[in-house]
């Protein structure tokens, strides 16, 4: 079940909201948990039992860890981390490693390996990271462990965020798991629905339209692709992935607010970044923070020699790319971004400071090229596509084929929404609108009207179109 499906929007969501709003405060967690179980189970029962078992084991291990002292405490920490990472590696990366071992074996002359393909449980990347944050935060003493197993399960399984984020660290909502009365207001609920519909519209009205054409262009043979069309496909995908993923995060944040949860922001207009360093402060913010706090800082952070610092950056971003997918092109994407982070520290940041706002342009171009690495099916395909973008190979200067007005209009709309926050006044208005927690009567009526309008438009597109995938659902 996905947020932009008919079943979710018009059956699951209103049903859940009615039950949740009508339930007494002490039963709201129960309603949320049952809904989350149903939501996850809809994607298949086979992984539900495995998932629940891992939740139970983690809860028990962490309770023991909290009561243990000194070296015993550390053993429980290591045990929990190993268990979760092993689970992630088995389901997500087993195929990748076996394929590469098999390929190496074939190159050495042995027969190829055969094995049964391991199926990837949906959302495993995200909830594994959340289990790790819980473990580490309790170990570090940031928070005491939850007394209730059911509250712990709710934290892990809360349906708005469990499949594709935001990655909510335990300490960010620990108090809200047991007491959300401060956020249980009609204003928060209106803001939540408003935010949800903004996300839905981003996904359905913009990402889907651009994604359909991006897919068509990327399915062409790179060798026959005119340069202009190659860039068009890359730019279309650049906007598709932003509106797809940020739309999903908006929906998740909105659903959370409807329930009284305050999830962290995951996007802050990443394409107005003036450097790749700034990009990663604006793109998938919760992943960036996770990587920083649980990987980069333990490696030494900024308090090491420059050479070591650069190695740390590369390591973190290669692993970040690898987190996204079990394929070489994802590793290359992470390495690519790591490279520019190093270059930023070497000289690019000083250069960009001189350029001022103009540095948005080279940063955007770097980002677009990066998304090609991300989007291609293979590393070889990615490199071939980038070569075409650079005009290498046969010189094909054909004009762009025909694309509909809808595509061009949507592309322009996406560009406007992506870059308009570069103007400080607009950025402040945007933050003020999205962060508002109290509305005047007039403002409430206004966002209600916008919410209803976005719902109607989105419904028309959902029912009238068959193209409706989520990119980050496969991670």
């Amino acid at each position: 079940m996905v947020f932009s499906s008919t079943l979710f929007l018009f059956y699951f969501l209103p049903g859940f909201l009615l039950l949740y709003f009508l339930a007494p405060a002490r039963f709201k967690n129960v309603v949320a948990l049952v809904a989350s179980l149903l939501f996850y189970a809809w994607g298949g029962l086979n992984f539900l039992a495995l998932f629940l078992a891992s939740v139970v084991i983690n809860f028990v291990l962490i309770r023991f860890m909290d009561k243990a002292q000194n070296w015993q405490k550390r053993i429980y920490l290591i045990l929990s981390i190993v268990l979760n990472v092993a689970m992630l590696f088995y389901f997500k990366y087993a195929n990748f490693f076996l394929e590469n071992v098999s390929a190496l074996g074939e190159a050495a002359g042995s027969s190829p390996l055969t094995w049964e393909k391991v199926v990837l449980p949906i959302g495993i990347s995200f909830f594994t990271f959340e289990k790790l944050t819980y473990t580490i935060d309790v170990y570090r003493g940031v928070n005491k462990p939850l007394r209730s197993f059911w509250d712990f399960m709710l934290y892990i399984m809360l349906f708005p965020k469990m499949i594709a984020g935001p990655i909510v660290r335990f300490h960010e909502i620990a108090d809200q798991l047991t007491d959300r009365t401060a956020f249980d207001t009609v204003d928060q609920k209106l803001a939540g629905l408003f935010r949800f519909m903004i996300g839905l519209a981003k996904k359905v009205l913009i990402a889907n339209v651009l994604g359909e054409q991006a897919d068509a262009i990327f399915s062409l043979s790179p060798a026959e692709l005119p340069v202009a069309q190659a860039w068009l496909g890359a730019v279309a995908y650049t906007f598709q992935i932003y509106f797809d993923f940020s739309g999903y995060s908006d929906m998740a944040i909105g659903l959370g607010r409807l329930m009284g949860f305050q999830f962290p922001e995951n996007f802050n207009n990443p394409y107005i970044s003036r450097s790749i360093t700034e990009f990663w402060q604006r793109w998938h913010i919760t992943l960036g923070r996770w990587m920083r706090d649980y990987l980069y800082i333990p490696l030494g952070g900024n308090r090491v020699k420059p050479a070591r610092l650069y190695v740390n950056l590369w390591t973190v971003f290669i692993l970040s790319g690898f987190w996204h997918g079990a394929a070489w092109n994802f590793i290359a994407w992470g390495a690519y971004h790591g490279l520019f982070l190093v270059l930023d520290r070497l000289f690019l940041l000083r250069l960009y400071r001189k350029l001022g706002a103009l540095s948005i342009l080279p940063t955007f171009v770097i980002t677009v090229v990066g998304w090609v690495l991300f989007r291609a099916e293979t590393l070889a395909g990615a490199l071939a596509y980038v070569s075409r973008m650079l005009g290498l190979g046969v010189n094909i200067t054909a004009a762009l084929p025909y694309y509909t007005r809808e595509f061009w209009f949507t592309l322009v709309l996406a560009a406007v929404f992506s870059f308009m926050a570069a103007l400080p006044r607009i950025e402040r208005w945007e933050i003020r609108t999205l962060a508002a927690s109290h509305f005047s009567v007039r403002a409430a009526a206004g966002i209600t009207a916008v919410t209803a309008l976005l719902l109607l438009l989105s419904m028309g597109y959902i029912v009238g179109s068959s193209f409706n995938p989520f990119i980050y659902f496969r991670f």
Partner: protein
């Protein structure tokens, strides 16, 4: 309190489609066009585990969602009004909201251009068929119906207007037909001339065929042409008063809105006023006759019977329409498939009992070899001899040796039939050279 009301309204808005799906309290109407609805899935644990049940239930729910037709119409309306996109159809929206099918546009742009030698071969066979029928007292006439894209290229989107001088099948066929003295009624230049002289639209904005007005003018021209060709006189058709003007899309007749109704828009488009002539078909007088005719054609032929009963009143009762040389239709004001199929009929008897055999196709169907009619008639009067069969067998063996192994083994029986047909085709071409 007011804010709670607003929140309640939004939740109700989310609930309404499900309530409508269950209660159907608002009449939505049906969408035009062909579509399927997913069946209710049968529950099973295997389906639940594999998610097949969940996926099927999702499709079932989506197909029956309340206000689904309104949502689709909303989507189509936005696409049409803002982006000039005709919803989920393959239609092109041109200037002044004129609708075009892709076929007429492609052929007008020369995208389906045949080889010149191929066209000459086909016309030569048609000529032979014409001669064979003439020897038996049957007159063959090839009628070329106008192509909407060629008729009004100024209404095509700018990107789809071909450069001047583009060679098309129309050019090749008409040139070859005239060179071979084939009996041809080319209505393309006739309509082009009428475009500036006739007071009413000859093509509807939302139809791909000639309008009721254009079709009846074409029918008059056809009758005059057949009178000359056959040396006879048809019963008189008299115009009675001025045409009836219709502006409402819902009231347009026959094919005049055949591209408009699948749009499924939220608001009905106002049609360009179309004219429908008031005609009186007089009974035959002395010296006038209703000849027997066989029409083999595409959907433009409907225009000769659905707007006004030209075929029904001017031709004999045994006149038939072979729709794409496949379905046997009784001429009628509405669709009247007899259920018979051309392949089951006695071709010789069907042909030789007629006074006229009329082939009627529009430009983009020229490439389709009259849907097999010409080949069938040619082979009827030019049966293969034993020598011919032997030569064809040799050709088939040669083609078999040249074919790839994969092609042969994929579908052995089908492959042999295709090779045999191809060999016969090649052989017949050699005979005509």
């Amino acid at each position: 309190m007011f804010k709670r009301l607003l929140l309640g309204l939004l939740v109700l808005l989310l609930l309404l489609p499900a309530l409508q799906a269950r209660l159907r309290f608002y009449p939505e109407g049906e969408l035009a066009g062909a579509f399927t609805r997913a069946p209710h899935p049968e529950f099973s644990w295997e389906g639940l585990q594999s998610t097949a049940y969940q996926e099927a239930l999702g499709r079932y729910v989506e197909d029956r969602l309340g206000f689904r037709t309104l949502a689709i119409r909303l989507h189509n309306q936005l696409s049409f009004s803002l982006f000039r996109v005709a919803g989920l159809t393959d239609l092109t929206v041109g200037e002044h909201e004129v609708l075009f099918q892709p076929g007429p546009i492609a052929t007008y742009a020369g995208q389906d251009l045949l080889d010149e030698a191929e066209v000459r071969f086909r016309v030569r066979r048609l000529r032979i068929v014409q001669q064979e029928l003439a020897r038996r007292g049957v007159k063959l006439l090839f009628v070329l119906a106008p192509n909407k894209a060629r008729f009004q290229p100024e209404d095509l989107p700018l990107r789809l207007r071909p450069a001047p001088g583009i060679l098309t099948n129309y050019d090749l066929f008409t040139r070859a037909m005239r060179a071979d003295s084939l009996a041809l009624l080319d209505l393309v230049p006739v309509f082009a001339r009428w475009k500036t002289t006739k007071p009413y639209p000859l093509f509807p904005r939302a139809g791909t065929h000639w309008s009721g007005y254009g079709a009846t003018l074409a029918a008059d021209t056809l009758l005059r042409h057949l009178e000359q060709l056959g040396g006879l006189r048809f019963p008189q058709v008299r115009t009675v008063g001025s045409p009836r003007i219709i502006s409402s899309s819902d009231s347009l007749l026959a094919t005049d809105n055949d591209l408009g109704w699948p749009l499924n828009l939220l608001w009905q488009r106002e049609a360009t006023p179309l004219a429908y002539r008031r005609l009186a078909f007089l009974p035959p007088q002395a010296g006038q006759t209703r000849p027997s005719a066989l029409f083999i054609g595409d959907s433009f032929t409907w225009g000769l019977m659905q707007f006004s009963p030209y075929i029904q009143r001017e031709f004999s009762e045994d006149t038939r329409f072979w729709y794409y040389n496949n379905e046997v239709h009784l001429p009628d004001s509405t669709y009247h498939d007899t259920g018979e199929r051309v392949a089951k009929l006695n071709l010789q008897q069907q042909l030789e009992s007629r006074r006229f055999v009329i082939l009627l196709f529009t430009e983009h169907n020229l490439k389709d070899r009259e849907y097999g009619f010409t080949d069938q008639v040619y082979r009827l009067y030019h049966p293969l001899t034993a020598t011919d069969q032997a030569a064809i067998d040799q050709l088939a063996q040669k083609l078999t040796r040249e074919a790839s192994w994969e092609e042969q083994t994929k579908d052995l029986e089908g492959f042999q039939q295709r090779i045999r047909a191809k060999a016969q085709d090649l052989y017949e071409r050699q005979l005509l050279q």
